[in-house]
Structures are given as C-alpha cells and as structure tokens.
C-alpha cells in the first residue's frame, strides 16, 4: 500500500519539473520563433531570456517532530539554476530549481551534541505581470510586479545518530502569490544596477508527510526503509510558508549580470505532534545571469 502511495509522490514531482521545462521551452520558442517583425522600428527586441547559475550559503533551522521534538540549527549550501523569460518588460515567467544540503546540530543546551542532516529541493514556477512601471526612455525605472505560480518544496531530514537512522520526509506543493518591486538605475547606460525585493506567500499548501520516521528494517535482511507510521497523509495547510528575495543586480553590459541577494524561506506543515515539520532558511546567494537574448536598448 505504501509503495503505491510513494508512487503518487514520485509522479507529482516529475510533473512539476516537466511544467518547468515546458515553460522554459516555451520561452525559448518565443525567442527562436521571433522574426524581424517582432522588432519595432527602433530595433527593440521584446524578448529577454535569461539563464541563472548560482550558489548560496546560509543558516537554517528545522524541527521535524516525527524524528525529534527539538530544533536543529546548522549551515548549508544551495546551488540554484533558473530560467527567466520576460516579454517587453510587461510580463515574465520564471522557473528555478535549488537544492539545499545542510549539516545541523541539536540546539538544546546542555547538549548531547548530535548532528542531523537536511536535504531539500525547491522548484519555483511563477508568472509576474507588471502593474506599474515608468516608461523605458526614463533614465531610471521603478517597476511593480504581481503574480503567482507553483512552489514545490521537498525535504528529507536525517537524524543519523539515533539508532536506525531516522529520516522525516515532507513535501509542500503550493500555489504562490508573489509581489515584486524593482528599481533600475541609469538603464540607458551600459552598466547599471537593479535593487529588488520579492516576496511569495503560500495561501494554502498540500503538505505530504509519507511517514513520520523511517526505520531501516534490517531484520528483513535487506536495507528496506519502511515508514514506521505508514500513513501517506496529505493535509491542506493555510499559510504554509513564505519566501523573500532581496537583492542587488549589477548588469555587466547587455549580456551578463551578477546578483547578490538574501533569500529567506520558511515552511510549516501545521498540525502538531509527530506530524509537524517546520524549517526556516536564510541564505546569501550569488548568481551569474547569462542573457540569451536581451532588450538591445538596455
């Protein structure tokens, strides 16, 4: 029975990845399918496609009450890759995948200092529509975007010290509401800066907890991990989390950009007891943006 439920879990995540890929391909198609007619008389190319590659370093705290009732604090790294397509600076789609790897320590003093580990994967898809922005010829811009998308957060926490490594699994699949403010300085010059802030809230999330803690049933003679509580439960949790991204982008010519940002995300499964999982992460991120196409007036 459990296996079938896992199958459900494993089919949902690829679906989200496929949607991300599809959006990416659509964006690329929009670019590659462009004709000279797409260019306005001034040579303005309305298509801007970007690839982002980056890494983050930061601090995180989690509490997976299925494996331990206490919080673990630690540090980790998170490589990211993202794709953005922006059309005529009026709407944009963005897809990003990041995987966090962290080492944690029991946070209760006086401590028996035991390590724990956490791996989570985030996939974020969003559509943003510009609701305010002063016109392109201005020497600076203030743009406001709103939109939303889909957010997938899947995590495995491992308390390896406890006999029979206990692992808690949690997955959040949520629609996200997103607001973004950005300001660009001196956009008519070759190099310019962007300051931005973006926040997403998850008004409701489908939270999956496929078992509270995993036991390696070695008496079964093979290393079969079995959910100790084999309930593949799903729970709708209102306001299950949020993410914030505050940063500065330095545009190096029209094709490249460097981004330094502060990322924060928090997730809570809601409920109580062994079902409860919460995690908050603060990251300092550095990204390199490669523009496949760009607005040649910028």
């Amino acid at each position: 029975m459990l296996k079938n439920k896992y199958t459900k879990l494993s089919t949902m995540r690829p679906l989200i990845y496929c949607i991300a890929l599809l959006l990416g391909v659509l964006g690329t198609q929009a670019q590659t399918g462009s004709t000279p007619d797409d260019q306005d008389l001034n040579g303005f190319n309305p298509h801007r496609c970007e690839l982002r590659f980056g890494g983050s370093l930061g601090y995180s705290v989690f509490r997976d009450e299925g494996t331990a009732p206490i919080s673990y604090k630690g540090i980790g790294i998170q490589p990211n890759i993202g794709f953005n397509y922006c059309h005529a600076e009026t709407w944009q789609v963005d897809a990003e995948i990041g995987t966090f790897l962290g080492i944690f320590e029991n946070a209760v003093p006086p401590t028996l200092n035991f390590s724990a580990y956490d791996i989570y994967n985030q996939v974020r898809l969003k559509y943003l529509h510009r609701i305010h922005g002063n016109a392109w010829p201005d020497p600076w811009e203030l743009q406001c975007w709103v939109g939303g998308g889909l957010h997938n957060f899947a995590t495995v926490t491992i308390n390896s010290h406890y006999e029979n490594a206990s692992a808690g699994v949690s997955e959040f699949i949520c629609p996200a509401l997103t607001a973004r403010i950005e300001t660009n300085s001196k956009i008519r010059e070759k190099d310019y800066w962007t300051f931005y802030g973006e926040m997403s809230l998850f008004p409701v999330a489908a939270v999956f907890r496929p078992g509270y803690s995993y036991i390696d049933n070695y008496t079964a003679s093979t290393n079969v991990a079995t959910a100790q509580f084999s309930d593949y439960e799903m729970h709708f949790q209102p306001l299950a989390g949020a993410t914030t991204d505050l940063g500065v982008v330095f545009h190096v010519g029209p094709q490249y950009a460097l981004r330094l940002s502060y990322l924060w995300n928090v997730h809570s499964s809601g409920k109580s007891g062994a079902w409860k999982y919460v995690q908050a992460t603060h990251l300092l991120a550095f990204d390199l943006t490669l523009r496949l196409t760009y607005n040649n007036k910028r």
Binding site: V108, S185, A220, V224
Partner: protein
C-alpha cells in the same frame, strides 16, 4: 538622491516580513521535567512494539510515576524516574542516555550475568586451549580427539565473513561436525548472521517474518515481511552436524541467529533459552536533549510465535557445577556426543 532613497526604502520594506518567522516556526515542546516525562511515556506508548509479550500495563506505569515528576527537579532525579519507567519493560533494547548516565534493563543484565550457562575460563583453558587459532572473529580448535571442531563466536560485533568461516570449515574438513558456541554473545551486526548462514544448506525455507509498528495503538503493525534463508552462492555448503550453543546471555542478533538456524536441517540449538531481543531498536530525542531507543518491530517465528523474551533451544542442557569442578563444560561435551553419535 531622493529617488534612490525611496527606491531602497521600498525594497527594505520587505525585511520586516522575515521577522514573522516565529509565526511559522511556533514553539518547541517545553524543556521541562514534566514535558520530558510525558513525551517519553507517549513515545513508548505509541511506538513500542512489544507490549503484548511484555505484559505491562503502560497506563498504570504512567499513573504510578507521574506524581513523582515535577518541574525543577534535578536531572539525576528525572533520569531515575525515567529509568524506572523504562525498566518495567524488561527489554535490553530499551535504553536512555543523559549527559551523565545510561540506563539499561536490569532484568537483561541479571539474565546475562546471573543465569549464564557459560564459564569463560573452562572454555578458554580446556577447549580452545592456548593452541587455538583465530580467523576474523572466530576462535577455534579441534576437540574430542580431533573429531569435532569447536568454534567460539563471542560477539556479533566481531567480524564474521563467509570466507573466514569457509576457510575454517575447509581446514577442518575431516571432523564429524561443528560446535558453534555463541553463549554470552550480546548481539551486534545482523549481517554477520547472514554471512554465517550462507554456508548452511539452504532449502529455500522461511526463517521468520518481521513487522514494523505502524500506528499509535499497541497492535498497529504494518504488513509482515517474510525472510528466507540466504542462498548458497559461490561457497561450499556445510552439511555435517552443526550444533549451536546458546544461553541467557545471547541477545539481539545472537537470539535472532538462534531463531534462524533452527530452521536448518543439520543444525541443533543446545543449551538454554536466549535472552531474546528480536525487535529492531530505534531511537529519538527528548525535549531536554537526552535520547532513547526501544524496539519498534516484532519478529514472528515460522510457528507464528514471538520469541522476544527468548528463543528456546532444541535441547536443553544446563551447565553443571560438578562438571565445571573437573574442568569440563558438559554442554560442549553433550554437543560432541550428539555429533559423534550421528
């Protein structure tokens, strides 16, 4: 300049949102004596897998001990109460670790050291002798005028590779059988069971079935998983008589080994009932940072019985003081007689 300030201000307005983190993170369970006591009691109540064979009224244990727990009590006092609670389970896989102490079952301790069926000096001097050999975790010597191979395996934490045992059995290929002594073996790495059984003649038989606790009620278990004898691949199977000696000092993997080898046609388990410990222990943390472990599975033998409290031998033989007085281990001698008479 004014515009720049306004723009930066707008972005910074989002910062306070991050301070709402507490809203999502919530509060931990309070690090207090009463919460720690209740948490551990509840964990055992919902996750421990052996209430049916331990015959413990867990609610009564709670009601008896809870009045002795109060916030502000010393950690040593709390440890004593929690230990007393866990001790009612008489389970060697139940432990509690604090910063300064470790709890283990008193009953299992007494079984091992009070009711042992084993005398190390007699075995070492008169059976292994100073001339014995050691390969991996096995100490061995030919006894009974070279007609029986005696192998002492004292702990399943010691290395027990199939190739090591195969080497020993080939080296003594002419003996009429093996006495495999696991008395006072407190368990260890279960894989070593499979390494040893890989040399016994598999006929595809089921060894046991295992179930994990799967819910909060005492009888909530998952689907049973049947476990079968390992196939003999690339090894020479040992078909001669193989007598396994057990006592009340055999625990965990040693008990499991005794349970498994009883299903082999050429194996006889001799001695005393083991101390049990067939469940998988799993651990966790308490709100005060201490940690614990207890059994979360049950193992059912092929006859459907849960021998958690001890696997009985095929032949009961008790170590006699009068035999010891003459330098003899009458259990080993009985095993030799059994082999030589076949």
């Amino acid at each position: 300049m004014k515009n720049t300030s306004i723009r930066i201000l707008l972005v910074l307005l989002m910062l306070p949102l991050c301070s709402c983190e507490k809203l999502w993170m919530g509060n931990e369970i309070e690090n207090s004596a009463t919460e720690t006591f209740e948490y551990l009691w509840r964990q055992v109540d919902e996750r421990y897998s052996l209430f049916d064979v331990k015959n413990v009224d867990w609610q009564a244990v709670h009601d008896n001990l809870a009045p002795r727990v109060y916030d502000g009590m010393s950690s040593d006092s709390l440890f004593a109460v929690l230990s007393e609670m866990l001790n009612t389970l008489d389970d060697g896989h139940v432990n509690l670790w604090s910063d300064n102490d470790v709890f283990g079952s008193e009953a299992i301790f007494l079984q091992r050291y009070g009711n042992g069926n084993f005398d190390l000096n007699t075995v070492s001097i008169n059976y292994l002798t100073p001339h014995h050999h050691t390969t991996g975790g096995f100490a061995y010597n030919a006894i009974a005028d070279g007609q029986v191979l005696y192998i002492r395996y004292s702990s399943f934490t010691n290395s027990a590779s199939t190739s090591s045992l195969e080497y020993i059995l080939k080296k003594y290929a002419d003996v009429k059988g093996v006495v495999f002594d696991i008395r006072q073996n407190g368990g260890g790495v279960i894989q070593n069971e499979w390494n040893i059984m890989a040399l016994l003649p598999c006929r595809g038989q089921m060894l046991y079935s295992t179930q994990l606790k799967a819910g909060p009620a005492h009888n909530d278990f998952g689907e049973p998983v049947a476990v079968f004898a390992p196939e003999n691949k690339d090894h020479t199977v040992y078909t001669k008589p193989f007598v396994v000696l057990t006592d009340r000092g055999c625990y965990s993997a040693a008990s499991s080994f005794a349970l498994c080898v009883k299903t082999y046609d050429n194996v006889i388990v001799m001695g005393d009932t083991t101390a049990g410990g067939l469940a998988i222990p799993a651990g966790g943390a308490l709100p005060n940072g201490w940690y614990y472990r207890f059994g979360v599975s049950r193992t059912l033998a092929t006859d459907g019985v849960n021998y958690e409290n001890g696997v009985p031998p095929d032949q009961v033989v008790t170590l006699l003081p009068e035999a010891l007085a003459t330098g003899h281990d009458n259990i080993i001698d009985s095993a030799c007689t059994l082999i030589l008479n076949q």
